[in-house]
Amino acid sequence: MNIVVTVKQVPDTWAEKKLDASDRTTDRKSVDNVMNEMDEYGVEEALRIKEAHGGEVTVVTMGPQKAVETIRKALSMGADKAVHLTDDALHGSDALQTSKALAKVIATLSPDLVITATEASDARGGVMGALLAERLGLPQLTLARKVTVDPAAGTVQIERQADNGYALVEASLPAVVGVVEKINEPRYPSFKGIMAAKKKPLTTLGVGEAGLDASEVGLASAGSKVDDAEPRPPRQSGTIVKDEGDGGAKIAEFLATQKLI
């Protein structure tokens, strides 16, 4: 199995996220940057599939120079090699442009399976898997809480998480699979893995080397623009409903005002 897993470096989940005042892109300088936590599940799943069926796991990321730290984390967990797409021209790319750039890189790797997380904790768009599948012309299975590949039959089957159970969904390989956090427990990098990571092959590509034109990517030609961002409003104090025989009705009323029912 030739498995590609996408990872993204994001501001630490617990850090207060801000926009850079100059161009309203994510401010990465004022915070610690880490591997998107949900990507750890993707990396773990890729490693487990490799351990079961053999093959190779390639990590792909697009991001600034510093994102190499996230690549190294994936390599220290056990991935075999990595491609880092990095170029000043990519700065400020939106999801459409990012998917175009990543798809270009992934296509050159001819994967049997592409694994993504469901979303990244910074922008939480949750669209990258679908965009990649579309651009690569591959079927996509989403919300996988279990993945079973059958390389001989050339299929991948997942348990797709649903509100009240799961659905069994199957696709032919190659395919793009998006995993949820329930799927596994990501391993901690071993000390040996950490030391080996630096010796593993890492390809760094600029926009030109990836076969992209600088005008297709970056803030200037982005299809979406960020005008402003507001911090999340502070939590409102709750409403206390006293049950005087009509508690049920009052709760229903409240839920209706919140447009929840």
Binding site: R72, S76, R187, Y188, P189, F191, I194, M195
Partner: protein, 387 residues
């Protein structure tokens, strides 16, 4: 190792300790057991061999690196560290300090991988602070040896795969010159382990007596080969010097956790409409603990650096262990005080750490023994200068 690699190693350990072990602290306390999954993950990471050289499958940390790693381990229940503490520490070091190359090659990789848990069996009922008085004997028998005696309070004995046993091989030699170390595998006929001791703290870490009733071992188990005869005591003392800095670092880690627990509690707990942290008497307790922590950490880092460059392998380790273990005792006591009644109640972390911390002033040389080592060494040096 590369500094950038080491930073990542420490980061991985920090996350493992805080995300995986800390949430299980109460369970470990109640069940007096480290969950098997934690043991497996710790072994997978490489925690059983961080102090064992790379050629034998370990990580080969210097003392200066080791203490920075151990600061992280000290953040949680010390029984977690204890699980692999004997492998990296006193027991693994018996092989590192005293074994032949062939013995090292054969046994250290198993110890570093966590395949084997190793115990260090020196203390006896009548020989604790002064182990040179130990009564366990080993006598030649054909081309092997027969060991007779018993050991007390041996960490990890109930789960050990191999014991580093110190026995008297020459009753006529001066007390500390007639002692030899043997490597005895669990299951060797005549070796048995008593019931687990009921300890004050550090639940999840087990100690027990070890009985050696006519245990026959081949000459290949003699640590250091034929040349190792009579060298056991010197080997044990070198292992303990390394171990003392290690324990001192563990005390620093625990003090760090205790200071955090103390400050968080003082900031949140209200009396008379004020957080108790606003009271200057509480601030005094916090400041004293923070200062103890700073002093202990700086001392341990300095002692480790001097140990690495060989300028001080005696006084520094003892001073670090003496000060840091006493300091964490004070810090734990203040933590309980700041918590008020809650500090005396089971289930509250500082209550548990208070009991856990007590051991550090006792094992691997009591505080009094460290004082004796420090003063004697300084007086010896003064005498040398005078003559």
């Amino acid at each position: 190792m590369l500094d950038s690699d080491f930073v990542e190693v420490v980061g991985a350990v920090r996350r493992f300790v805080r995300d995986r072990v800390v949430p299980l602290e109460n369970e470990i306390e109640q069940r007096d057991e480290i969950p098997a999954a934690i043991r497996e993950q710790a072994a997978g990471m490489g925690l059983f061999g961080f102090a064992i050289p790379e050629v034998y499958g370990g990580l080969g940390l210097s003392m200066s690196e080791e203490v920075r790693l151990v600061f992280e381990l000290g953040w949680t229940t010390p029984s977690f560290r204890s699980m692999f503490g004997t492998n990296n520490g006193i027991a693994g070091h018996v092989l590192l300090e005293g074994a032949t190359d062939a013995q090292k090659k054969e046994y250290l990789p198993r110890i570093a991988a966590g395949e084997w848990t190793a115990s260090f069996a020196l203390t006896e009922a009548e020989a604790g602070s002064d182990p040179s008085g130990l009564a366990t004997t080993a006598r030649r028998d054909g081309d092997g040896w027969v060991i007779e005696g018993s050991k007390r309070y041996i960490t990890n004995a109930p789960v050990a795969d191999v014991f580093m046993v110190f026995a008297r091989t020459d009753p006529d030699a001066p007390a500390h010159k007639g002692i030899t170390a043997f490597m005895v595998e669990a299951g060797t006929p005549g070796l048995s382990v008593g019931p687990r001791d009921h300890k004050m703290g550090q639940a999840g870490a087990w100690t027990a007596d070890v009985y050696l009733d006519g245990v026959r071992v081949p000459a290949s188990t003699l640590i250091g080969g034929e040349e190792g005869v009579g060298r056991g005591f010197a080997t044990a003392m070198r292992c303990l010097a390394h171990g003392r800095i290690h324990i001192a670092a563990l005390c620093v880690g625990m003090a760090q956790r205790l200071v955090e627990e103390t400050v968080n509690f003082a900031a949140a707990r209200q009396q008379g409409g004020h957080p108790i942290g606003e009271f200057q008497l509480i601030q005094g307790l916090i400041a004293d603990s923070a200062t103890d922590l700073y002093a202990a950490r700086a001392l341990v880092l300095d002692a480790a650096a001097r140990f690495d460059d060989g300028t001080d392998t005696r006084v520094g380790p003892s001073a670090a262990k003496y000060f840091a273990s006493e300091a964490v005792g004070r810090v734990a006591d203040r933590a309980v005080q700041v918590h008020g009644g809650a500090g005396y109640i089971r289930g509250v972390p500082v209550e548990r750490f208070y009991r856990d911390a007590r051991l550090f002033r006792i094992y691997e040389g009591t505080s009094q023994i460290q004082q004796v080592i420090i003063a004697r060494q300084l007086l010896r040096e003064a005498a040398d200068r005078a003559s």
